[in-house]
Structure formats: C-alpha cells, structure tokens
C-alpha cells in the first residue's frame, strides 16, 4: 500500500511539474511574440508547406497522417503570424501537378481539405478569433463538388472579417496564375481599344498593358493581398516549384528552411522575422502598411522620428 501511494504521488507530482512547465513555456512564447511584434514585421508571408510525406515516412506513419500533422503545423504557424500582427499569410496547400499523385493520397487530401477548411472557419476557431478572411486561391473548379462546396461555405463564413487575410493556394500553379492574369489584361485592353480605338480618329492608341497591370490581375492580388515580403520553403528544398513566381522574383526575401513542415515552429520562424527587422533597420527593406486591411501604422526605424509618405502600397520611411 505504501509503495502504491509513493508511486501515485510520484506520478501526480511529475504531472503537475509538466503542466507548470508547459504553462511557463506558453507564456514565454507569447512574451517572445509580443517582443518581436514591437519591431517592424512583414505584411505578407508565404509558406510552401513541403515535407509532410517525408515526415510521415521518417516517423513510420502513413502519408495521410503526415498531411494531418501538416494541418496542425499550419494552425500553429498561422497563430504565430497573427500574434505577430502579420496581416496576410499565404500557404501553398495543393499544386495542380499534385493531381498526378496516387488516387488514395489525392482522395485523402480532398477529405482533409473539406473537413479542415470548415473547422478553421467555425465560430470561436482561429480565423474567427483573429478576424481572418479566408481566400482559396486557385483553380477550384478542378476540385470535386464536395470540396468546392466546402470552399464556398468557408469563404462565406469569413467574408466579413477585415483584420487579416489567409490565402490557401489550392489547386494552384503560378504559371497558371500569370497566364490568367495576362489573358484578363489582354481582354480588358481589347475591350478598351475597341471602344476608344483612336484618340481623334487618326492615331491608333497603344495597347495599354503594363507589368503593374498584370500584377493587379493576379488571383492573389485581386483578393486584397499586399505585396509579398517573405517566402519560406520548408524541408530543405531550394526551389520555388511554381509558387508565386511573379510575386517573389523581386523585393521578396527567400528562406529555405531545413525543417519538414510538420516540424516547423516558432524557433524556425523567429530568425526569419529577426532578419526581416534587420533588413528594415539597415535600409534594405521598406516597412509596409496595408492599403485595405487593418489599422496598423508603420513602425519607426530604431525609434527615431520619421516622416512617412505613402507610395502606392508601400511606405517609404525617411529618417532624420
């Protein structure tokens, strides 16, 4: 009897110790995020969520379980970004090329998409808690009907949220996005040209298609996303794999993290934010303000007084 009491006491004390430890850890994490958010933070961060399958194989699990772990990582990282007051997060969930995977895996991903989309948007859940508008960016007509219905329902549930944006890119391919944008620009230019044609009846007006116009017609930009500041690719792969090529080829910091996506967490993300802050402080990056979402103001550079003037969607910070 004495032995049983001793063992029980040992177990309970151990359990209490772990609970206390977790509580402190959670508080420390939240404090760390509060400290980070006092400096400049990016407006738009994109993640290529790579490595779910390799993670599953490494841990002796089935591939769908790896995708399930990937979803938990998404929630974790999304909450980190929202606590840091990053206004727009984009994630590459499913590529158009991924339909080439085995039917079992594709079916598992479709079922995961349907259940988790609605779970994310439910009342009291993460998106509701932080006022996040969900956009599903991509060729959703390629999805089965039940997934399309889930996408529509999820977007409707969050359409009135104004604080932040979550872009889930699926099924997505950047070249497809660029081609669609070019197609839309050409159609618009043709319709303008056919109505206006010439200026005074003699001179033919040029076709007015610029790179800024193409940018504004990209699917992700049309949903109110600001310019992309940081792109993170996990699992150690060092290529873009047809993700946001137009958006990230200029003025975007690239990070190739060795961690698999289900393992990606706060301590993988903190150095990325610290490097962003240094880039802003040392003049290589401009702090940005959202044009449509949120009421944040630009953080000043090193606490000195600054004058700001708005140029398009970016704010040029000039320090005295």
């Amino acid at each position: 009897m004495f032995l049983i009491s001793f063992l029980l006491s040992f177990v309970l004390h151990g359990f209490a110790f772990i609970c206390r430890k977790l509580g402190i850890t959670l508080l420390a994490q939240r404090f760390l995020l509060r400290v980070l958010s006092s400096g400049p933070v990016p407006q738009h961060v994109a993640f290529v969520m790579d490595g779910n399958r390799r993670f599953a194989r490494m841990h002796g699990k089935q591939v769908p379980e790896g995708h399930g772990e990937g979803y938990l990582a998404l929630k974790r990282v999304l909450e980190i970004c929202l606590r840091l007051r990053i206004r727009c997060v984009s994630v590459y969930a499913f590529a158009i090329d991924n339909f080439k995977r085995s039917p079992e895996e594709v079916d598992a991903l479709m079922n995961l998409a349907q259940s988790k989309l609605l779970e994310l948007c439910e009342h009291g859940e993460l998106l509701d808690q932080y006022g996040v508008k969900l956009n599903v960016v991509g060729r959703t007509e390629l999805f089965p009907d039940f997934v399309q219905a889930a996408v529509k329902r999820a977007e409707d549930l969050t359409k009135n949220n104004l604080e932040s944006i979550l872009n889930i890119c699926m099924p997505y391919a950047s070249r497809d996005e660029i081609t669609t944008a070019v197609e839309d620009c050409v159609q618009e230019a043709l319709s303008r040209h056919s109505t206006t044609g010439t200026d005074d009846g003699t001179n033919v007006l040029p076709m007015d298609i610029t790179e800024d116009m193409i940018t504004s017609h990209l699917m992700s930009m049309q949903r109110g996303s600001p310019p992309l500041d940081i792109l993170v690719r996990t699992s150690g792969v060092t290529r873009l794999s047809d993700y946001m090529l137009w958006q990230c080829c200029e003025h975007t910091q690239l990070h190739f993290s060795p961690a698999y996506w289900p393992d990606f967490g706060l301590f993988d993300f903190v150095p990325i934010i610290l490097q962003w802050q240094r880039a802003v402080w040392f003049g290589r990056k401009q702090a940005t303000v959202p044009s449509t979402y949120g009421n944040r103001t630009t953080h000043s550079s090193r606490g000195r007084s600054v004058e700001r003037k708005v140029v398009g969607r970016r704010v040029e910070v000039e320090s005295y």
């Binding site: 760390l32 509060r34 400290v35 980070l36 958010s37 006092s38 590529a95 158009i96 090329d97 991924n98 080439k100 391919a173 950047s174 070249r175 497809d176 660029i178 081609t179 070019v182 197609e183 620009c185 050409v186 159609q187 230019a189 043709l190 056919s194 044609g197 010439t198 033919v204 040029p206 076709m207 298609i209 610029t210 790179e211 193409i214 940081i230 792969v237 060092t238 290529r239 873009l240 794999s241 047809d242 090529l245 137009w246 990230c248 080829c249 200029e250 003025h251 975007t252 910091q253 690239l254 990070h255 190739f256 150095p271 610290l274 490097q275 802050q277 240094r278 880039a279 290589r284 606490g303």
Partner: protein, 323 residues
C-alpha cells in the same frame, strides 16, 4: 507594451547576432571542400543561370571588373564541365553594356589545339523593329513583329574535353567536334517588362484577328502557348540551376537572399544556390577604410569553390514534379 518590449527586442537581436556568429564560425571550420570541378557528379545542369547582385557601395568600375572576371571564369568552367547554356543576369544591365567585352574574351578563350579554325562566335541581337506609324489600316502592329527579346545571345565554341589521336591530326573544322556553349546576357528588361510587352503583342495579334474575322471573339491564352512565346527561340529558356553571386558578399550575406527581378516565368523549377558564408563580417572590420579601398577589398568575383559547391548541391537535389 510596444515601448516596454523594445529593449527586450534589442537584447534578442544581440543574442541572435552572437548565435549567428558562433554558428558561422562553426560551419566554416566544419565545411568540407567541394568535389573537384571535373569530378563525376550524379547530374549536371544543362542550363545554368548566374544572378549577379550589384551593390551601390562598390563603385561602378570595380563592379564591372568583378563581373567580367566572373563571366570569364564561369564560361571556362561551364565549358570544362559540359554545361550547354549559360544565362548571365544583373538587374541594372551592366553586363549588357559590357557585352562587347564579353564577346572579345569569349573569342580569345584558349582552345586546346592550334589546328583549330578560328572560332567566330555568333551574336544574335534582337531584330530592329520596323518604323511604325499609328495608322489603323496598317497590317503590322505598332509594336513591330511581336515582342523582341531584350538581351544578347552569344554562342561560344570550344574543343571537346578528350580527343583521340585521330582528332589530334585533323583540323577541327567540323562543328560536331566542338562543344557549344550558348550564352544569354539579360537584365531586368527581360523579366516582367518583357512579359508585359509579350502581352501587348498578343493583344495586337488578337486585334488583327478580330478585324479579319469581322466579329468579336473571346481571347483565350493557355500556359503552353505563353510558354512557347517566353521560352521559345525569341525568348529565354528555363534554367535548371541558378547561382546567386553578390559582388559585395560581406554585406549581402548578412541579410536574406532575394531574386532581384530575375525573369519569373523561367524559374519555376530552378534550383537556387547562394554561398552564405563568404566574407560575412569583413566589412564590419574595415569600416574605417576609404570607400575606394573598401570597394577593391570587399568586392568579389565568382570563385571556383562556389561553383564546385553549387554543382555538388545541384547533384544532390531531388526532383518530384508534383508527385
């Protein structure tokens, strides 16, 4: 809370700097030399792109000198390794302005055998668009014959690596015996502006088609069609591998890597390499030197170490194509 947290943020940055310094030193001590240049590797890129990142702290003449040195070396290494196509990019167009100099040293590159005929590299400049007037009745678009590629293409020929005794006696007048390295020199103009110009060209083509067909039609564009325009003979093909080389590595390697406006369409599956350890803190130690001396000391051409390490990284990469 933001103001109270700011000192903690500075402490955090200080701790991070220390950590990065220690890790950098550790990695430099632990790094293994890359395989030799001509070592057998699992795969070699067929099309290599080198993205040169310039910096305003390095003066223009030093930048040009470093770029030309890098181009000279990379051409020789590509020929040695057997890379078929080389794209050289810098966003400001410095390389384009130096294309004549590049042509000259590509011509003067040592060829293995004296019996070889002099090689005349072919330079393909973009076609001069015809004079345009803006008459409605004109059959040609005001933009010319479609979008013209804003870059320079040079074809360099070199002797093959190994030659048998029979080849030693024969004049290498047969081009099949010579290896071809196609060199593309591009700037930011070949990136988003070229895509916009291509879009304008497509709009004009569609306008003409609508006039001929005498009726409105909905313009449709598919990925393969746009790919043909952008990567075809008048465009730039997609590189398999890209080396990002900063002319000022000491400053560049303390901040994250970027792509500086490289043509976006072409980098869909391009592996990217950048050596982040070179000369990382050197500029911090030389802040007191005059700018001219600092430019000379801190600027860097592409090194063979970087090139070999890059090839090793490419050889070890795994391609899945969505599967």
């Amino acid at each position: 809370m933001g103001l109270l947290a700011y000192p903690f943020l500075l402490v955090l940055h200080f701790l991070y700097s220390l950590t990065v310094l220690v890790l950098s030193v550790w990695r430099r001590l632990r790094q293994f030399p890359p395989l030799p240049l001509k070592a057998s590797r699992q795969r070699i890129p067929r099309h290599l792109a080198i993205l040169f990142v310039t910096d305003s702290e390095i003066d223009l003449s030093t930048t040009e000198q470093r770029l030309l040195e890098s181009v000279d070396r990379s051409v020789k290494w590509c020929q040695a390794v057997g890379i078929e196509q080389l794209t050289l990019y810098d966003s400001d167009g410095i390389l384009l302005r130096c294309s004549e100099s590049i042509r000259k040293f590509v011509v003067s590159s040592p060829i293995q055998k004296k019996e070889l005929e002099p090689v005349n590299p072919v330079i393909n400049y973009p076609p001069t668009p015809p004079l345009s007037d803006y008459s409605e009745s004109r059959s040609l678009s005001p933009e010319g014959f479609g979008a013209s590629f804003p870059g320079v293409k040079i074809t360099a020929l070199s002797a093959p690596k190994k030659q048998s005794k029979q080849h030693k006696r024969r004049l290498a007048s047969n081009k099949d015996d010579l290896k071809t390295l196609n060199i593309n020199i591009v700037s930011r103009d070949a990136s988003k502006p070229f895509l916009a110009e291509m879009a304008r060209s497509l709009a004009w083509s569609e306008r003409r088609k609508q006039k001929i067909d005498s009726g409105p039609s909905t313009f449709r564009l598919t990925v393969p069609v746009l790919e043909q325009h952008l990567e075809g003979p008048n465009g730039l093909s997609a590189p398999d591998f890209m080396i990002v080389h900063p002319v000022h590595p000491s400053k560049y390697n303390r901040l994250p890597m970027e792509l500086h406006g490289f043509p976006p369409w072409q980098i869909r599956l391009t592996e990217i390499y950048c050596n982040r350890l070179r000369k990382k803190y050197r500029s911090r130690l030389m802040w007191f030197l005059p700018l001219e001396i600092r430019s000379a000391v801190l600027s860097s051409s592409l090194t063979e170490w970087e090139f070999r390490e890059a090839l090793d990284q490419y050889a070890g990469a795994e391609i899945r194509l969505g599967r």
